[in-house]
């Protein structure tokens, strides 16, 4: 059984916890996020020929008062960088986080999740922005924690990238 540690990263209230809540198993409550700053869950999946367990470290969202603890990233094989599609500022936050993560753990696979895609009316991320991300070589997906769209794909994509690496 292959296990991979992945981290959920992103600004405060981008929906990281909601994203994993529907797709993973955990024995820990959300209060860990506010106390220890991390909540660990597991996602069993099959990527290609491999059965794989993703150990998901859902890190407390970053805001002006709280920075992510980089020590939690140690040993991560990949990460999901979550952005709130209705708040463009969260993209800047994601870029900032990605920079720090790269410094801390090096080049590990990651996928950007443009979350809350169900809220089309409030969607604020322009196609240009998405193209910019693509130009950076970042893989991104539109997801909705509410409808579940894209979430499985995001995990699968990351798993593929990690197993190839």
């Amino acid at each position: 059984m292959v296990q991979k540690k992945i981290c959920m990263l992103g600004a405060f209230a981008v929906g990281k916890t909601s994203l994993v809540a529907r797709f993973v198993e955990s024995i820990f409550s959300d209060t860990y996020l506010t106390t220890v700053g991390v909540k660990i869950s597991r996602k069993a999946m099959r990527a290609g020929r491999h059965r794989c367990h993703l150990i998901v470290w859902d890190l407390a969202g970053e805001d002006e008062f709280l920075q992510i603890r980089l020590s939690y990233l140690r040993g991560a094989a990949g990460y999901l960088l979550v952005v709130d599609g209705t708040r463009p500022a969260t993209i800047d936050a994601a870029i900032s986080i990605q920079k720090r993560v790269q410094e801390a753990v090096g080049d590990v696979p990651f996928v950007v999740l443009l979350n809350k895609s169900d809220l089309q009316a409030e969607w604020e991320v322009s196609d240009d922005t998405m193209l910019e991300l693509a130009d950076k070589g970042w893989n991104w997906l539109k997801t909705s924690a509410r409808t579940g769209i894209g979430v499985e794909d995001a995990f699968l994509l990351l798993a593929d990238m990690m197993l190839e690496a």
Binding site: I27, F28, V36, G37, S41, R42, I55, G75, A76, A77
Partner: protein, 588 residues
């Protein structure tokens, strides 16, 4: 050198045709070409650093081996370099050396600490030796039985724990490499626990700014304790219920060291596939130890009551048995001490005491002794053979019973000699002289201190009779008035004399001597004196009826009692006197 072949060639060729440079060059290349190529190749090889390094690398290991065998110069030559290299290595990345040394440092340090602790435990042992309790005694026995030190046993009994889960966790990623759990524990979420445990460690390290390498060692949660042992690449975390002994930490340390030693390459290159660590499970399972306190059993008070009654009953029975045994022993001792009793066998069979032996009839009554000892005679079956004991008191008692001495006799035994003192009749003395030696244990009878009362009486009677006189009237064979009484007394004494003499086998001859006073003629006086003697003789024989051994003689006035001066003197001389002659006396 290049010129000489040319000179040589010049000698051989005609001088009018000097060799041109081209021809010479051709000639040179024809003659020396192959050597020149070789020289060039060699030169190139010498100039080429890479090729030279290759050449040296080919011979270097063998050269080092040969030189090391020769002397130690090589070692001293490279020592400085090696030291510099190690210093440089430590400075640039201490982790490498730490990783290499980690499996070795732990055991070495523990060995040193163990020897120090052992002496401390020894001294603890000695101090514990002093304490004494039933529990302590039990543990001491256990220590002897199991060959462990007493302190170890005490430790095992006072600490009670169970290692419920052991996690082997990849240190960087927090991913679970291997897990072992006790039967009662659900291991499903161990990977999540492993991650969270790592997260918490990171949290603590970040929050309190501890140094890299230091970290959480123990987490206490109620009855549970999580013990964490860290290696450079992996962590062992053990969940212990209860209070684990310090030895557990040593065990975990040994496990993490062993795992690092065995799985160093896969730990370094771990990419999430934990299959390589399947073998580490045995290490973890070895940690699943447990130690229970012996459960106290609750026993109903009724049980204790029954036990108490039984115990009291048993105690009473044992007490009775002990008393009986004591009585029996005392009885046997008294029997053995008793003269005239010899115990030959004594044993207990089917609840009965059985006794056989010898008993002198004069000895104490065993039944009496039995009653005195307080033993029920019904419990004893005895059989006594009669015998005569030569015990001096017994010999004496037997002598007394056989000889029936008069009360005036005191018998004593001295060796085999029966000694009689006091006084006894002649007859008894004679009988005893004959009988004494027939009594077992008596060799002789000594009676020189014993007064023979019969002989004494004989002597006394003789003296009394010979001192007696009977007075007569003047010129007459008639007794004076009042002399009849004396005559009767005399008669009685004579009677007694004969009796006593007969008892001692002595013949008695009584001569009655008639006397007169000096007045009157000799002839008449002889007749008168004869008459007086005969007169008494006839009086005595009439009363006695015995006529033998008695004679009457008249001797006139030849033997006056007193010198005659007055009439009173003459009256005293008109008398009869008596002479007793005893013959045939054995001991006069």
């Amino acid at each position: 050198m290049t010129d000489s072949p040319a000179n040589g060639a010049a000698a051989d060729v005609p001088s009018h045709q000097p060799p041109d440079g081209e021809a010479l060059h051709e000639l040179r290349s024809l003659i020396l070409g192959p050597e020149q190529d070789q020289l060039r190749a060699l030169q190139a090889r010498v100039d080429n650093f890479t090729l030279r390094a290759e050449d040296v690398s080919a011979v270097l290991p063998e050269a080092i081996r040969l030189r090391s065998r020769q002397d130690t110069l090589l070692a001293s030559a490279i020592r400085g370099t090696v030291e510099d290299a190690m210093q440089a290595s430590v400075r640039s990345n201490p982790g490498i050396l730490l990783d290499v040394l980690f499996p070795l440092i732990g055991p070495a340090i523990r060995k040193a600490i163990t020897s120090t602790l052992r002496s401390a435990i020894d001294s603890l042992n000695r101090s514990l030796d002093v304490s004494f309790s039933a529990r302590g005694l039990k543990w001491r026995l256990e220590a002897v039985r199991t060959g462990k030190s007493f302190a170890e046993i005490v430790l095992l009994h006072t600490l009670h724990y169970r290692v419920e889960q052991v996690f082997l966790i990849h240190r960087d990623s927090g991913l679970l490499l291997q897990h072992a759990a006790a039967a009662a524990v659900d291991p499903r979420d161990s990977d999540l626990v492993s991650g969270m445990l790592t997260a918490i460690q990171s949290f603590i390290q970040d929050s309190f700014g501890v140094q890299e390498g230091d970290g959480l060692e123990t987490i206490h949660i109620g009855e549970l304790t999580v013990w964490i042992e860290r290696g450079p690449l992996a962590i062992v975390a053990a969940v212990v219920r209860g209070s684990g002994p310090p030895e557990l930490r040593t065990m975990f340390q040994e496990v993490i060291e062993a795992i690092h030693l065995e799985y160093h390459p896969p730990l370094r290159t771990f990419q999430g596939d934990s299959a390589a660590f399947a073998g580490a499970r045995t290490h973890l399972e070895a940690c699943l130890t447990e130690q229970f306190e012996p459960r106290e059993r609750h026993i109903s008070p009724a049980f204790w009551g029954v036990c108490a009654v039984l115990l009291v009953g048993l105690g009473l029975w044992a007490w009775g048995a002990m008393l009986n045994a004591q009585r029996w022993t005392a009885y046997l001792a008294s029997l053995r001490a008793e003269p005239g009793i010899v115990v030959t066998t004594a044993y207990k069979q089917a609840g009965l005491y059985r006794l056989t032996g010898l008993r002198d009839p004069l000895a104490a009554d065993p039944q009496q002794l039995l009653r005195q000892a307080g033993i029920d005679p019904g419990q004893v079956e005895d059989h006594w053979e009669t015998y005569h004991a030569l015990h001096p008191p017994f010999v004496l008692r037997r002598a007394q019973s056989t000889l029936s001495p008069p009360e005036t006799v005191h018998l004593s035994l001295d060796g085999g000699v029966l000694r009689a003192t006091g006084s006894a009749p002649h007859r008894w003395i004679e009988d005893t002289r004959r009988l004494a030696r027939l009594i077992p244990g008596i060799d002789a009878f000594q009676h020189d201190q014993l007064i023979d009362t019969t002989l004494a009486e004989l002597a006394a009677l003789t003296q009394q009779i010979e001192q007696s006189t009977l007075l007569f009237r003047k010129g007459s064979a008639q007794l004076m008035t009042g002399q009849e009484e004396s005559l009767r007394h005399l008669s009685a004494m004579l009677h007694r004399l004969r009796e006593v003499a007969e008892a001692v086998a002595v013949r008695v001859q009584v001569n009655i001597l008639g006397h007169t006073d000096a007045t009157g003629g000799e002839g008449k006086n002889l007749t008168l004196s004869q008459e007086r003697a005969e007169r008494i003789l006839s009086s005595l024989t009439a009363a006695e009826a015995a006529t033998t051994g008695i004679a009457a003689w008249g001797i006139g006035s030849r033997e006056p009692r007193v010198e005659e001066v007055t009439d009173e003197d003459r009256e005293m001389n008109r008398r009869v006197s008596f002479k007793v002659i005893l013959t045939g006396m054995a001991n006069p």
